[in-house]
């Protein structure tokens, strides 16, 4: 699928793994951390403006609402640049959300698109059947200038999904299971392609979460075969006309891995790598200090609905700080109208404005030395959420919610 999308965007009939190509881009994305570096590089190119004001987007989400003066300066630089260049899709406080939740919601990505973003989790849009990959600020600058990027065509690993997920098991458990199986460099430089009859049971929220963490296995991109669920989602969000690319019957794969979704259990990735995946039979009591439910991985409405279902009418354990972060303004509003925010607040959790904040140890939930957090975010590297001696355990919204109630890492099956 990836190779076909790349060929179409490079004006070629076909491409092969390893081939270097120059591809046309449908969207170039940056955030408040990576865009300032790109803007400085862009200035050196002496271009009159961006290649297409509708195909460049900047989202102020990492340190916004501004966490300090320097963050304020960075956001201002992006705001000024987008103003000067008349960039259509500039998302500031009030409209913004976490970029990878926001763009699909706004219909800015469709099936068959070729997207680069100066954020590693840009691979999220593979859930919509797009080729989408994270790059750095220099690539973003060149992308904004000419609407093109060079790529080395990746080979692929096929994940053949069968069965369906059990209650309180989600896309997060699937991707943690997969990374546990293949390792944090198990898909290095390659494409992870998800297909099989099991797809039918996976919601868009599950798919977006799985594709989001493809980078945590080192992959260039993750991509899902397009089906009615994808098409319904794109239509519901007023996305552009989808271009559907299907893998050939005889497509070449480096490896084919079968995943029986009905066998996946609630899974937790232990510090300090996402590949340290364990199921609940593999560990005992682990006391926690903080829970974060949010991020580009798991801050969607479905994630909040699952957490609220578990927390409804119950109280968070004494001494555990529980932070819920709806990923976009729309999700916030929907969660409010559905009564989810009331459930969280009555349980003793705080509900934050959309931000990446704590996921990368920015702000809004930093850990002290020796503290432990269960979070629905995507990385548990040393110091990721704060002090180098703190610990981050990655899990699904269901596990995070269950853990919030007990103060220990807890399976939602035991609540």
């Amino acid at each position: 699928m990836t190779q076909k999308i790349l060929a179409a965007h490079a004006g070629l009939d076909s491409v092969q793994a390893g081939q270097l190509i120059l591809a046309d881009l449908d969207l170039v994305l940056g955030n408040d951390i990576t865009s300032p570096v790109a803007i400085k590089e862009f200035a050196k190119l002496n271009k009159k403006g961006v290649f297409d004001k509708d195909k460049v987007t900047m989202v102020m989400d990492h340190f916004a609402p501004n966490k300090d003066i320097k963050a304020a300066e960075q956001c201002k630089m992006c705001r000024d640049f987008c103003g000067e260049n008349d960039v259509t899709h500039f998302y500031d406080v009030g409209e913004m959300g976490i970029e990878h939740a926001l763009l699909p919601e706004k219909g800015l990505v469709s099936a068959g698109y070729c997207v680069i973003g100066a954020d590693s989790h840009t691979c999220t849009y593979g859930a919509l059947g797009a080729f989408s990959t994270g790059v750095g600020s220099t690539d973003m600058a060149c992308g904004m200038a000419v609407g093109k990027a060079w790529f080395k065509v990746p080979s692929a690993i096929k994940f053949n999904l069968t069965g369906s997920l059990r209650k309180y098991v989600s896309g997060k458990d699937v991707i943690l299971h997969i990374i546990g199986k293949i390792g944090v460099d198990g898909a290095l430089y390659r494409s992870m392609e998800f297909t099989g009859e099991g797809l039918a049971s996976l919601s868009m929220a599950d798919r977006l979460c799985i594709a989001n963490m493809a980078i945590e296995a080192g992959a260039k991109n993750g991509i899902f075969e397009v089906d009615d669920i994808t098409l319904d989602y794109i239509k519901a969000h007023n996305g552009a006309e989808p271009q559907i690319f299907k893998a050939d019957e005889d497509a070449q794969y480096d490896e084919i891995i079968d995943i029986d979704l009905s066998k996946i259990e609630p899974t937790v990735a232990f510090p300090h790598l996402p590949e340290n995946a364990k199921t609940f039979d593999q560990f005992g009591d682990i006391k926690i200090d903080q829970v974060v439910i949010g991020s580009c991985t798991n801050g969607r409405l479905e994630d909040l609905q699952t957490a609220a279902e578990i927390m409804k009418g119950r109280k968070c354990a004494k001494g555990v700080r529980v932070i819920v972060i709806p990923a976009t303004q729309q999700i916030y509003l929907d969660a409010m109208e559905q009564g989810l925010l009331k459930i969280f607040i009555e349980a003793g959790a705080v509900v934050s404005t959309p931000t990446c904040g704590p996921c990368l140890g920015g702000y809004m939930g930093i850990l002290a030395a020796g503290e432990r957090a269960v979070t629905t975010t995507n990385r548990n590297f040393v110091g990721r959420m704060g002090h180098v001696e703190s610990e981050v355990y990655l899990a699904s919204p269901a596990v995070a919610a269950a853990s919030a109630l007990t103060g220990m890492i807890t399976s939602p099956w035991n609540i």
């Binding site: 951390i33 320097k70 590693s120 220099t138 460099d185 290095l188 790598l273 140890g361």
Partner: protein
Amino acid sequence: MKYTGNVIKYGDNVDTDVIIPARYLNTSDHKELASHCMEDLDKTFVNRVQAGDIITAGQNFGCGSSREHAPIAIKASGISLVIAKSFARIFYRNSINIGLAIVECPDAVDGISEGDKVEADLDNGIIKNLTTGAEFKTAPFPEFIQKIIENGGLINSIANGDID
């Protein structure tokens, strides 16, 4: 291009969060980023790194975030070259794009110790451990990559007309 320097050695999966922690991403000033380089992995790095030094590392160096601040911090700290068994792909791309020389060579990583003096000739794909005398071969850089690094990055290469 030839690089000569003393080696600072790290292990597998050195991620971009330890290369430059997110708490310093509220700036893109190269010197300021360099002053926190490797801080969460090796607090001694910034004090002992000398201009021209070479980093060696294991698998998947630079995994995680797409922050270009990571190779910028390494380059601005004075490191001339990173030799690893493998690199995470965004870090690899970013390094070339900003003009930080990097090369994959698992044999060299196994055959070089902390503090060894190393000479690397990337145009010809030869890495020499001057301390032990051992020599390792790697694929030479294609010419266009050599040009990007010589120019100090992709943007300068485009501005200089070496890439159009």
